[in-house]
């Protein structure tokens, strides 16, 4: 008997686990990543000659619940048409019964990779604000992401910001007008109480306790606060730290009521205006005004200096 080498065995494993796209219009190019529920492949859409990202369930031995979740994820994303949310192009079933959906292939870097680059604080804040806006849009449509973290946010090659991986999203109200989602909610197949959903460093205390029925928009606000803290690290000003603290308050009622409110406070921070999260003293107010009107202040100072110069030079 001849033993197979580890390399050959791994190669065979890869071939077996690779999805069979032969019955679809897609051609597998390479695997992009793998998560708990499925793997994402870079594939070529042979009809439109373009690259797409195809998410496929990990295993062909799928339960109805997994199938349901996968279709639900595709429908949730498809229902959220926003520049900050990756559009879904197609959904279908592979010959082995695995569900897949095709979405836009985003070229760029993940937020955690972007954060390692030498990017200014204001640029980081602008990207973060775009994330808040996409999440606020989802909230307005009754969808809570529940797993916001830098690894689930992409910065495209043109600077566009996209929120990914809506696999564990919770639909608060059936504003996505599909029979499936209505059916899903009515059948109460959502995550049961006690199930912990999310990523430890970014999940709200109520998520960590598995209180799924208590989770609302403010759980995502907490995660956004954690993302902001990650993005700014040592670069955070006192005001930015106050925004993080308010977003990450232990009690949901002490947080920003919505991602839109958090986005608005980031906007105020960028415009050097007072933010909701921080009550500044008189010196800080003056400092902020001077910082905002630096050029005007410099002009007036130059004028006064010139005046003093003239006083001393024109004396007889």
């Amino acid at each position: 008997m001849k033993w197979l080498s580890d390399d050959r065995l791994n190669h065979l494993r890869t071939i077996v686990s690779e999805p069979d796209f032969s019955a679809t219009k897609y051609k597998n190019v390479k695997e992009l990543g793998r998560g708990g529920m499925g793997a994402v492949y870079l594939a070529e859409d042979r009809e439109l000659s373009r690259l797409v990202a195809v998410k496929v369930l990990n295993t062909p031995d799928i339960t109805d619940d997994l199938r349901r979740r996968m279709i639900r994820e595709a429908q949730i994303i498809a229902g959220l048409e926003h520049p900050g949310i990756v559009p879904v192009h197609d959904v279908g079933t592979l010959p082995d019964g695995r569900i897949f959906y095709a979405m836009k292939y985003v070229r760029g870097s993940r937020l955690d990779e972007y954060a390692t680059q030498s990017v200014s604080v204001n640029d980081r804040l602008r990207k973060f604000q775009a994330v808040c806006d996409a999440v606020a849009f989802a909230h307005a449509h009754g969808v809570i992401h529940r797993d916001l973290k830098p690894q689930n946010i992409m910065i495209g090659s043109f600077g566009e910001v996209l929120v990914l991986d809506w696999g564990v999203a919770k639909v608060l109200k059936p504003q996505i007008d599909t029979d499936f989602v209505h059916g899903f909610i009515n059948e109460n197949h959502d995550t049961s109480h006690g199930t912990v959903i999310g990523t430890r460093d970014y999940m709200s205390p109520e998520q960590a306790r598995g209180e799924t029925d208590q989770i609302d928009e403010r759980a995502d606000v907490y995660s956004l606060g954690a993302v902001l803290r990650f993005l700014l690290t040592d670069k955070a000003t006192r005001t930015a730290k106050a925004i993080c603290s308010k977003a990450m308050a232990h009690a949901p009622e002490s947080r920003y009521a919505s991602a839109a409110e958090l986005s608005a406070d980031i906007g105020r921070l960028l415009d050097a205006e007072p933010v909701l999260a921080y009550r500044e003293n008189a010196f800080e107010k003056v400092g902020r005004w001077v910082g905002k009107n630096r050029f005007l202040v410099l002009l007036v100072l130059a004028y006064l200096l010139m005046r003093i110069f003239l006083i001393f030079t024109s004396r007889p």
């Binding site: 050029f295 005007l296 002009l299 007036v300 130059a302 004028y303 006064l304 010139m306 005046r307 003239l310 006083i311 024109s314 004396r315 007889p316």
Partner: protein, 116 residues
């Protein structure tokens, strides 16, 4: 706040400061009140002109240039009436025009457009 109003306030304040500095020139100290009044009026006139210009034309470099020209021109007229102190009057007047030109372009409510 409208742009002409910003121009008037800034022109008046800087004009008054401009006039008050005459206190450091002993030869004209007894005429200080008149100088401050005249300088303030000059600042107000410059502020109105530069403010209305900013309301019509939205361009930072052109606004600053206009401010410099108006400031220098009015200061020149004052120096001409004084019959001296050209540098001491024209230089600060020009810089006041520059500051007001910059401020009126950068701050204040712009004029409403036809389709807004």
């Amino acid at each position: 706040m409208s742009k002409p109003l910003i121009g008037v306030i800034l022109g008046a304040v800087l004009g008054a400061i401009d006039g008050l500095t005459a206190w450091f020139t002993p030869a004209v100290r007894d005429q200080l009140a008149g100088i401050v009044f005249g300088s303030t009026i000059k600042g107000v006139i410059a502020g109105i002109a530069i403010g209305f210009f900013a309301k019509k034309f939205h361009s930072l470099p052109i606004g600053i240039l206009f401010g410099v020209i108006i400031g220098a021109f009015l200061a020149f007229l004052v120096a001409l009436l004084q019959g001296g102190y050209y540098l001491e009057i024209i230089l600060p007047g020009t810089i006041v025009g520059l500051i007001v030109g910059f401020a009126t372009q950068k701050y204040g409510t712009p004029a409403a457009t036809a389709n807004s």
